[in-house]
């Protein structure tokens, strides 16, 4: 599901009713259907084998088959009303082949028989052969060993689809009530739950059955000042997580206290919305920022998005090579910079790591969508650019002989391609708390939560907002600010990194909607960091009069 479809679902309640505009090939189902087991593993293997045999007999030299069942549930509310409850299911099979040296792909909805998948395989071979005529050079696929029949399950403790709808509605009504009681005029709240049941098989000899869960509780509160006619909002400080319903069970150890409470692997929605309502109200009285240079102290609930845009994207090899030139763009981090082995992406404190295995992260799986076992690898080491994110048909370009395992398709009906792994900033190696970090800052701004975000098509120049801004004066927090956005250049920004808090402060943020490709596909990805300080960053004032 992409951001627009999601916005559509959120907006449905206000649009009056009729029919949701669902992602292609999805159907709405009763909530109970989300707990039904899909096609069993033995049948999936038979369907996959039929496709692989059919492709081979038509001349394919490689085939992979993805059998996917994708389940979503949304509970959407505002104030005292349930606006919408939507349950969707999508099931089908995608077959990708190499024939005459060229990729071909075809998919079939609701495939139940071996004849269905064989037919899709034959179509994929025909497309590959037709496209081969326009091809410049044949696909070079990095070797990959087969793992046999394997499985991977997200380590969740409570499947969100097992929790009755009523319990979810009751929670959101309580959340909305707390917002209104604490100063909000309006509140919108949502629970968004995902289960991807994916089966991958390839002619390399892997048959991987995987069960992936994601969970995202979110809200926006709005506080209006009738005297000025102004409105202020504050969004939830939750993160979308690769977790089950247990994310909504916060233990004291999951809470990071301070100027406002932030959350690690457990989220207290009620506590956060109570704080949010008061903070949205307090923003009206906050000081409008004076533009200029500030040292920024960035909370992980904010920094994840800066990492995503300024590190995750420019280090995707397909962008570097120009495959995304017409849409998402290319990259400043060109191959010559990587080859030089001395391109200072950031200061010596900056270690950026790609990881498809991190527990609780959105990107974690056992095997990627071309059957490569997932791993962790360095992108920037002690400030120097050392690697990219690449998949099987790209790694030869950077002299590697195995894929890094970051291939993904957002549906059985979409063709898989290189997507961002979880990309994270490693925690500082020397003990440092947020309080100690702030104590050293003379003129700074402490930013919590993600806000507006924009970056150019080669990932040099960016601008970010946030949810909460606090002025730091001579090592102390001096009060709330508003109208804050910072602008910088990727290399300059990461080289201004002056301190990174230790692993006790390390947390994940992330997005369900990383968009890429034409037609666009969505991918869910997490980014971890500890609170980090950047010196002398340009801050602008965003207040205007109309």
């Amino acid at each position: 599901m992409n951001r627009r479809d999601f916005t559509n679902i959120l907006g449905m309640g206000t649009a009056g009713l009729m029919l949701p505009s669902l992602p292609a090939f999805s159907r709405t189902v009763a909530p109970e259907a989300l707990l039904e087991t899909g096609v069993d593993v033995a049948t999936k293997k038979r369907l996959a084998d039929a496709a692989m045999n059919a492709a081979k007999s038509r001349g394919a030299t490689y085939t992979d088959v993805r059998i996917g069942r994708y389940l979503n549930q949304f509970v959407v509310t505002r104030e005292d009303k349930v606006q919408n409850i939507v349950n969707t299911e999508s099931y089908g099979v995608g077959v990708r082949v190499i024939a005459d040296g060229c990729w071909g792909f075809a998919a079939v909805v609701d495939a139940r028989s071996e004849a269905d998948t064989a037919k899709a395989a034959e179509k994929a071979v025909a497309i590959a052969k037709a496209n081969a005529r326009l091809m410049k050079e044949p696909v070079q696929l990095a070797p990959q060993k087969g793992y046999g029949e394997v499985s991977w399950k997200a380590p969740i403790t409570k499947n969100a689809f097992e929790v009755p709808i009523k319990e979810k509605v009751d929670l959101l009504m309580e959340v909305n009530g707390a917002a209104l009681k604490n100063g909000a005029n309006y509140v919108n709240s949502v629970l968004f739950m995902v289960n991807e049941q994916k089966y991958f098989a390839s002619t390399d000899g892997t048959y991987a059955d995987q069960d992936i869960h994601r969970m995202w509780p979110l809200f926006t509160v709005t506080a209006i000042d009738p005297k000025t006619g102004k409105f202020e909002t504050r969004q939830s400080l939750s993160a979308p997580m690769g977790m089950g319903y247990e994310y909504l069970q916060a233990n004291p150890s999951d809470k990071i206290t301070g100027i406002t409470t932030r959350y690690n692997k457990g989220y207290d929605m009620l506590e956060d919305v109570t704080a949010a309502a008061k903070q949205a109200r307090a923003k009206h009285a906050a000081k409008s920022v004076e533009a200029g240079k500030y040292d920024l102290v960035l909370d992980p609930s904010h920094l994840w998005l800066t990492i995503h845009e300024s590190v995750g994207h420019p280090l995707e090899l397909d962008r570097v090579l120009g495959y995304e030139a017409n849409f998402a763009g290319t990259s400043f981090a060109t191959l010559d910079k990587w080859k030089s082995k001395n391109f200072n992406y950031g200061s010596k404190l900056v270690n950026l790591v790609a990881d498809k295995t991190q527990v609780g992260s959105l990107g974690a799986v056992g095997y990627d969508d071309e059957g490569v076992k997932c791993k962790q690898w360095d992108l920037v080491k002690d400030g120097t650019l050392v690697n990219y994110q690449a998949i099987r048909d790209q790694v030869h370009i950077i002299g590697e002989n195995e894929s890094q395992g970051c291939c993904y398709a957002d549906s059985w009906s979409s063709v898989q391609f290189q997507r961002m792994a979880n990309v994270s900033l490693a925690a500082g190696k020397t003990p440092l708390s947020v309080q100690q970090m702030i104590k050293d800052v003379k003129k700074g701004i402490y930013i919590i939560g993600d806000g507006s975000f924009s970056i150019d098509q080669q990932r040099y120049n960016f601008q970010f907002g946030g949810q909460l801004f606090y002025e730091i004066k001579n090592g102390e927090i001096a009060g709330m600010l508003k109208d804050v956005a910072y602008q910088s250049n990727t290399q300059e920004f990461w080289n201004s990194c002056a301190a990174v808090c230790d692993e006790k402060d390390y947390r994940l943020g992330g997005s369900f909607f990383d968009g890429k490709g034409q037609p666009p596909q969505s991918s869910a990805v997490s980014h971890g960091s500890s609170t980090t300080r950047f010196n002398g960053v340009n801050v602008i004032n965003t207040a205007r009069k109309i």
Binding site: N8, G11, G13, T14, A15, G16, L17, M18, L19, P20, S21, L22, A24, S26, R27, T28, V29, A30, V82, F105, V109, D110, A130, N131, L134, M135, V169, N185, Y186, I224, P226, G229, F231, L321, G322, Y323, A325, N326, G329, T330, F332, S452, S454, D456, Q457, Q458, Y460, N461, Q463, G465, D483, Q487, Q518, P519, I540, T542, A543, R544, K545, I546
Partner: protein
């Protein structure tokens, strides 16, 4: 692709099984195809057909929706029962509005046979016509063409029925110089593909790529700009998308009034600003039913007819859009949200606008546009793929890209001149000359 009669037969069949207080049916389907290329070579192409039926059953203020893509009698009846079961279990929606009865829909011309006939060979040729001239000039093409042909039908147990078929093609092309120092862009969208030349659009992008190479840096600040329609369209679309009356009444919109109420009837823009929607416009025909919708104009539609609406007239806010619930509560007409917008312009060409400019910047495209402040509709983003300095009526040299922070409301007050509208991104937009457009920093991106 179903005809009106075929679609009506299925919808009537569904309604004959219905037992709920109210039942609505939406049936849509069609074919989409695409071809994508980069580095002067086709990377992916595909085609898919899909047809799906969604049934909404309502008991009192409880509703449930079920969807299916099989159309035999047993499947239809089963899906009606499923929607009814989901409805019975759903919480009450206090804002539920009873379904509309029969409506009169305009007969809009959204379908072109030329587009319906597109096949894989057509797409390959369209890509070749774009790649080949680039190869010959040692330039690198990356482009995408997507075509769709489909229908949408809606009906309900109160006798409402509507049917529309439509076609569309979207094409975009980015051309880069071999040294990576120049980049140009062009985009086209049409209902009738006989009006599309991928070759002609590519030539525009090629010319911009060559002309934009080795750009010079100018200081950020306030500049007179000429925004091509591909540059201004997203800002205008975002502004029109913010004209929801309920948000304004609730005090959380740029159209909210201090002390309560809305700014309906106030002059917020230069008096030359006129924005309408008109489903019958020959250049920009729209689906005759409104209230949201998917690719073929179906999906979220609540069956309201789309009519000609003036949104901004001589700089004055004339209309806002309403949900049926909010319009009922306020006792006003429930105007659905706008589809393709039409902004009136003048007769001048882009070249004329350049000729009349002493000092300014020509902007081909704005990119990564995000809201900074919903109160003032302040947006940020960057110029991309062809930004040029104009002096004494002539393009002098390419300039490095800028980040902007600007509100379309401020921009449409700082209007200097309007050119002849052209279709861009599903809208009809004139090239605009704007003074004091705010660039806040420089970007090295090409």
């Amino acid at each position: 692709m179903l005809t009106r009669e075929e679609a009506k037969k299925i919808i009537d069949k569904v309604l004959s099984y219905a037992k709920a207080d109210e039942t609505a049916v939406s049936l849509s389907g069609g074919r989409t195809g695409n071809i994508r290329y980069a580095r002067n070579s086709v990377s992916t192409s595909g085609e898919s057909d899909n047809m799906s039926l969604a049934i909404t059953a309502v008991y009192g203020k409880r509703s449930g929706t079920a969807t299916i893509n099989e159309f035999d009698d047993a499947s239809l009846e089963k899906t009606v029962r499923r929607a009814e079961e989901i409805a019975r279990l759903a919480p009450e929606n206090p804002e539920y509005m009873p379904m509309l009865g029969p409506q009169k829909y305009l007969d809009t011309n959204t379908y072109a046979e030329s587009t319906a006939k597109i096949d894989p060979e057509y797409r390959a040729k369209a890509a070749f016509d774009s790649i080949d001239p680039c190869r010959q000039k040692n330039l690198t093409a990356a482009g995408y063409l997507e075509d769709s042909t489909g229908f949408s039908a809606i009906g309900n147990s109160k006798g409402l029925f509507g049917y529309n078929r439509s076609t569309g093609v979207e094409f975009s092309i980015t051309v880069r110089t071999a040294d990576g120092l120049g980049s140009g862009y062009a985009a086209r969208d049409v209902n009738d593909t006989s009006k599309l030349s991928t070759k002609a659009a590519t030539e525009v992008a090629m010319q911009k790529a060559l002309a934009s190479s080795s750009a010079r840096a100018l200081e950020p600040g306030k500049y007179t700009v000429i925004l091509e329609p591909t540059a201004s369209v997203e800002l205008l679309q975002n502004m029109m998308g913010s004209m929801d009356a309920r948000n304004a009444d609730e005090g959380r919109s740029f159209l909210s009034k201090k002390g309560g109420g809305t700014r309906l009837g106030e002059k917020l823009f230069d008096e030359r600003v006129n924005i309408i929607t008109d489903p019958m416009n020959a250049e920009l025909p729209l689906s005759p039913f409104g209230g949201g919708g998917g690719r073929f104009g179906g999906g979220g539609s609540d069956g309201r007819p789309q009519e000609k609406v003036a949104w901004i007239e001589n700089g004055v806010v004339k209309n806002m859009y309403y949900s049926r619930y909010w319009a009922d509560k306020k006792g006003v007409k429930a105007i659905p949200s706008p589809g393709g917008i039409i902004m009136a312009g003048g007769t001048q060409s882009l070249a004329d606008l350049i000729k009349s400019t002493d000092k300014g910047i020509l902007v081909t495209r704005l990119w990564y546009i995000r809201a900074v402040d919903p109160q003032t509709l302040l947006y940020t983003g960057l110029t991309r793929d062809g930004t040029f300095y104009i002096e004494n009526g002539q393009i002098k040299f390419p300039v490095k890209n800028f980040r902007f922070n600007e509100s379309p409301v401020i921009m449409l007050n700082n209007l200097e001149a309007l050119g002849k509208p052209v279709r861009a991104g599903g809208h009809l937009i004139p090239p605009m000359k704007i003074r004091d457009f705010t660039f806040t920093s420089l970007s090295d991106a090409v």
